[in-house]
């Protein structure tokens, strides 16, 4: 009897005992400069540092495999994360300008793929590092850096700023100018919503005190809009409108690159923001407004339009820069107002012939260029008598979708009930089913990791968020458990099986593609709890955004983040307990072993009794004190009923499991 050694790699191991069905094989050939990674083993940090530095030194050009390999090592050796971060920073600083960019791509890859710890550790240094680098590199590299910066806006697993809003904003302000001080940042999203439509077009050119708009800024935004359009086109290669947009934007890019006066730059910027179906979203947001609304706020009166399906960013979505353009992992749920859609539509229906001549009349007044296109579009829209804003039926079907959850649900129900055929051998062959609409275009919010789709209403948004947190937790789990070895679980007992379906009466957890599994799935259970804890937040008392508080347990600094929905600063993964702010995860872990918490806190408490007065006034949320509560009774023993069928009614409490967490799970769920 021989067992497979767990340490052997997945793809390197053949079926040692296998018959003819599994021929022996070689690992695929690999270029030697990065093929060595498999054999790596580091005895100590010094050794690791030396080796990693040496490998970085080889990163002299934009080599995808090399970047992948370095990123992989970083992922495997998160215990040396500090060293990795130091090495990379040092390397970027010392490297000659033309080799800095590949290292930045590495930094980007690590931070996106292994968000924790890398994004966290890079966050304090990334601003200076980016700006210093930006200063010394050539124009082409700057452009690539700007593209990368754009992807950072939504680079975190949650779809938020990869290095936090503060860092993002600091960089963008420096390179694109503008007046986005913190207060402005917090006010702007509001403005962009409440601004009367009539003044919209003049917003950027007429604001007094406005920093001059740079060509780079316009180009950068243009790239975002363009790439979003290109993406739309990729998703639906038959979308003629998107194709036309891409064409127009490419022409416009040439025009801008050739140089246009300041006035026109402003015009273009305005137009871009107008034309972009995703204008106020994260990825396409104007750079001076780094904080933006990833979702349409339901309070706004304007009806929302959801163009062709787009995908939401998710955890490891980085694509690698072999091609000159670094594809932003951007598109987010677009929102556009009717006026914008109509101009968009008229632009779209402009005959190609009339636009293709435009670059030849350089230099031109670009704003009139736009007007011309729009006019032509309107005039030529005789081809179809549909008014601007209503495109082909399938395209716009979902545009009528009300933002209200109930309405969305009703609409789905109606669509199904009216389009479902009678279940007979003849009827099922009669019509083409509306599958493409019901399973694809109706659900524009797609998880880029597993492909599950969600509606864009409030509940869909929340579920997608939970879903992404789940992936995040599972990724973390997987990276931490490396080498520990997994095994097939025993199948659940009949009682657990009978009650498995009602653990959550609404099936919410299952629907987001995740379910706590009994027994064998203890890991899952823990991961889920972890995800739930990480979703908890505490509102930062006004004025404290810049102060730093550290978690009493792990001593890490808690970094505030801006919550777009409520427009307030929050700490994520945080709980307020006894006027102290803790990581929710740290706190929960500590609560599992109260004695250990006591031990850990003894010295801390003894050292500083001083409370933060601001924290006392913090607007406490309902969920703040929950995670510890179920443990109040003492040890976290489950209320387990052995032997009997553990049925509970659907509205009742969670059925008890073999894992000691249900009470807590329930509370956390309802609080989320």
């Amino acid at each position: 009897m021989s067992l497979y050694p767990q340490s052997q790699g997945y793809a390197q191991v053949g079926y040692a005992h296998a018959g003819p069905a599994y021929p022996p094989h070689q690992p695929p050939p690999q270029p030697s400069y990065y093929g060595v990674t498999q054999a790596m083993f580091y005895a100590d940090p010094t050794h690791f540092r030396r080796d990693y530095t040496a490998r970085l030194g080889q990163l002299t050009f934009n080599s995808r495999p090399h970047i992948q390999s370095l990123s992989m090592i970083a992922q495997d050796y998160t215990r040396y994360a500090d060293i990795v971060v130091q090495c990379v920073e040092q390397h970027i600083r010392r490297a000659p300008p033309h080799t800095k960019l590949p290292a930045f791509y590495l930094l980007d890859a690590m931070s996106k793929n292994v968000f924790d710890p890398y994004a966290r550790l890079f966050a304090p240094v990334v601003v200076r590092l980016f700006l210093d680098t930006y200063e010394v590199v050539d124009q082409a590299t700057r452009h690539k850096m700007e593209e990368m910066l754009g992807t950072w806006r939504t680079g975190a697993p949650t779809g938020r700023q990869l290095f936090g809003v503060v860092a993002q904003q600091a960089i963008e302000r420096e390179i694109w100018g503008g007046q986005s001080t913190q207060s402005v940042v917090r006010r702007l999203p509001v403005l962009s919503h409440r601004r009367p439509r009539s003044t919209r077009g003049k917003q950027n050119t007429s604001r007094p005190g406005q920093a001059p708009i740079s060509t780079a800024q316009v180009l950068s935004e243009l790239e975002f809009v363009l790439s979003s359009k290109e993406r739309t086109l990729q998703v639906n290669p038959y979308d003629k409108q998107a194709a036309t947009h891409v064409q127009i934007l490419q022409q416009l890019r040439k025009v801008v690159q050739a140089g246009v006066p300041q006035d026109d730059l402003g015009q273009i910027l305005t137009q871009l923001r107008t034309i972009s179906p995703a204008a106020p979203t994260v990825a396409q947001a104007p750079p001076v407004v780094p904080i933006s609304q990833p979702y349409p706020s339901s309070s706004s009166a304007a009806p929302y339009h959801y163009p062709t399906p787009v995908t939401l960013p998710s955890i490891p979505s980085a694509s690698y820069p072999i091609s000159p353009s670094y594809p932003p992992s951007n598109p987010v749920l677009p929102k556009a107002e009717p006026a914008e859609i109509s101009s968009l539509t008229s632009v779209a229906s402009a005959p190609v012939a009339s636009t293709s001549t435009l670059p030849s009349v350089l230099p031109i007044n670009v704003s009139s260029l736009f007007n011309k296109i729009m006019q032509t579009g309107v005039l030529s829209s005789s081809a179809s008598s549909t008014p601007p804003g209503s495109r082909s039926a399938t395209q716009r079907e979902d545009s009528a979708a009300p933002s209200d959850t109930v309405e969305l649900a009703k609409e789905y129900t109606n669509t199904v009930l009216t389009s479902a055929p009678k279940l007979t051998s003849v009827d099922i062959l009669k019509h083409k089913p509306a599958v493409a609409q019901l399973l694809y275009s109706r659900l524009p919010g797609q998880c880029k990791q597993c492909g599950l789709r969600f509606p864009v209403d409030a509940s869909g948004k929340k579920r997608l968020e939970e879903h992404l947190d789940m992936h995040f937790a599972q990724n973390r789990k997987a990276s931490q458990a490396n080498g520990r070895g997994y095994n097939r679980s025993w199948f659940v007992s009949i009682d657990d099986w009978l009650n498995d379906g009602i653990a959550d009466p609404k099936g919410k957890r299952r629907a987001v593609g995740f379910k706590a599994t009994v027994k064998g799935g203890a890991a899952d259970e823990a991961a889920q709890r972890d995800a739930e804890l990480r979703a908890m937040r505490v509102v930062v008392p006004p004025g404290d955004e810049t102060k730093s508080f550290s978690c009493p347990i792990c001593k890490e600094i808690l970094k505030p983040e801006f919550n777009e929905d409520d427009e307030e600063w929050v700490w994520r993964n945080a709980v307020l307990k006894d006027e102290r702010i803790y990581h929710a995860t740290c706190h929960a872990e500590a609560m599992l072993s109260k004695t250990s918490l006591a031990t850990r806190l003894k010295e801390e408490t003894g050292r500083s009794r001083s409370q933060t007065p601001e924290l006392l006034r913090s607007p406490a949320r309902a969920n703040l004190s929950l995670p510890g509560e179920p443990m109040k009774g003492g040890s976290p023993s489950p209320s387990k009923l052995v032997g009997s069928k553990r049925k509970v009614d659907a509205e009742g409490s969670v059925s008890s499991r073999d894992s000691p967490t249900p009470p807590m799970k329930k509370v956390a769920l309802s609080a989320a």
Binding site: S425, L439, G501, P505
Partner: protein, 496 residues
């Protein structure tokens, strides 16, 4: 296999067409959705991710809207076809979806549950899929389940497999039921209908299913139809029991995949075939029967059931391929291996290895990021007496000469017979055994055939018998004590 480097090739699919491929043993392909939208047996592919297929996988990438895919590696067969049955399958999905919606509606309005003909229209779909060999029953089941999970309606349909030759999310020899909360992935024929849970974290719930299973012990239905009948009814009762308290699950419905022998009206099969279909219809309160590509069976089902049940003839997909016996036996090997050791495969030559590719490369194996499926089982030696082993309805293979003179072998089909490992010819060496749940702790509740009604908690293989020392070596998914446990042996063997 030649080691030539595989160059990625692009295929452009028009709307409503599919790319079909079949793999040779030991090979794999990587498929990336470059642009557009596509699905595999109803599970959507994510643009830009690289999906791996291996272990003689035969599958099809279908697109409703048109797409471009990139293939790395060399399938033994590959082609594009627009002759699919997807329009019919999509319509069936819509019809089932309408049933779910009505059923949920009724639940909400608190109407009583009933089975009369007037309430028929608001019953959730409980679908029995019948069809001859190679008609694509399992694929249809998978598509219908996957579409339901993708509707964003929190459906969690129950997948029931009563084909003991298939294995569903566990191993052949079982019949099982599992709630399907997320799309079932496709990568290997070892897991056509999802994977049973491991201790590894997974991203797809369909890769950590919690099935309930009974051990039939044989691949062939005709071997012991009476036993299968009883197990089907056991399973049905439990599904019903579970759905009693689980509104969302009940409303989502049940989809049942069946063995092809249910459809084969040849020879002496007819009796047990009819009886087993009846067992399913009763046990799961079937209200929809889908007959895939079989005119005669459709007529028969119409005749027998159409009064109370919707019977629909469904076209067979053009992509269905013949699966011969040697193929099935290789799949069994993959399934056994995968149960204990997880999955491993060789990448198409020239691709960066799974271990050196970062997550950003977008590698997905059955929907999971790499390396999640490598498992470490346990092998240990136990005294014979630790484990009680049984065979159902079959005498051990003792030679006839060993029987008393004049004695004949008369064993009822349902009779449990204890197997003595110390006896030569016990048939235990390399045998696959189902480890059973504990019998009722209350002695007074026990009964003779209780063992037939105990569900499976896992599988073990006896890899060595040391008769002089009365010890045996057992391979189990993980270290465990077998003391006082019960196991049933069937006709499955496995040698690594």
């Amino acid at each position: 296999m030649s080691e030539r480097l595989a160059v990625p090739r692009e295929w452009v699919l028009n709307a409503e067409s599919e790319y079909r491929f079949e793999l040779d043993p030991g090979t794999s392909v990587a498929i990336k959705l470059v642009r557009g939208q596509a699905e595999i047996f109803g599970a959507e592919l994510v643009e830009g991710k690289t999906y791996f297929f291996y272990e003689e996988c035969k599958a099809a990438i279908f697109t409703w809207q048109g797409c471009t895919i990139e293939i790395t590696g060399q399938p033994s067969t590959e082609y594009i076809s627009d002759e699919t049955a997807m329009n019919a399958y999509g319509n069936i999905h819509l019809a089932l979806e309408a049933m779910r919606i009505r059923a949920l509606d009724r639940t909400k309005s608190n109407q009583p549950q009933g089975y009369g003909s007037d309430s028929q229209s608001s019953e959730p779909p409980r679908v029995l899929i019948l069809g001859p060999e190679n008609s694509g029953k399992t694929s249809l089941a998978k598509i219908l389940l996957n579409y339901a999970t993708r509707a964003a309606q929190d459906w969690c349909p129950m997948l029931v497999n009563v084909d003991p030759g298939e294995g569903a999310s566990m191993l052949p020899g079982t019949i099982s039921a599992a709630a399907i909360p997320a799309p079932l992935q496709t990568s290997t024929p070892a897991h056509r209908l999802g994977r049973a849970a491991t201790t590894a974290p997974t991203h797809m719930t369909s890769n950590s299913l919690l099935p309930l299973a009974y051990w039939y012990g044989h691949a062939e239905v005709k071997r012991n139809p009476l036993l299968l009948d009883r197990l089907i009814r056991n399973l049905g009762e439990n599904v019903w029991d579970r759905h009693e308290d689980d509104t969302q699950g009940r409303v989502s419905g049940v989809i049942i995949d069946t063995p092809s022998s249910f459809a084969a009206n040849t020879g002496g099969n007819a009796d047990h075939r009819q009886a087993l279909i009846k067992a399913c219809v009763d046990a799961f309160r079937i209200n929809v029967i889908l007959v895939v590509g079989h005119e005669k069976l459709n007529a028969e089902m119409q005749r027998t059931y159409a009064k109370h049940i919707t019977v629909v003839k469904v076209p067979k997909s053009g992509g269905v391929v013949e699966l011969d016996a040697p193929y099935r036996s290789r799949i069994h090997k993959y399934q056994m291996h995968s149960y204990f050791y997880g999955e491993r495969f060789t990448l198409p030559p020239g691709m960066p290895s799974l271990t050196s590719a970062p997550a950003a490369a977008g590698y997905l194996v059955g929907g999971e990021q790499i390396m999640d499926f490598t498992l470490a089982p346990s092998s240990f030696v136990v005294p014979f007496g630790d484990l009680t082993m049984w065979r159902i309805g079959e005498e051990t293979m003792a030679p006839s000469s060993a029987l008393p003179i004049g004695a004949t072998r008369v064993v009822s089909e349902m009779q449990p017979i204890q197997v003595d490992p110390s006896q030569a010819g016990s048939g235990l060496y390399n045998a696959v055994l189902a480890l059973l749940a504990s019998p009722n702790p209350d002695e007074s509740e026990r009964y003779d055939e209780e063992i037939l009604d105990l569900h499976v908690v896992g599988f073990i293989v006896i890899t060595n018998l040391d008769i002089p020392n009365k010890k045996m070596t057992v391979l189990a998914p993980t270290q465990t004590s077998l003391v006082g446990k019960t196991a049933i042996v069937g006709t499955f063997e496995w040698e690594e």
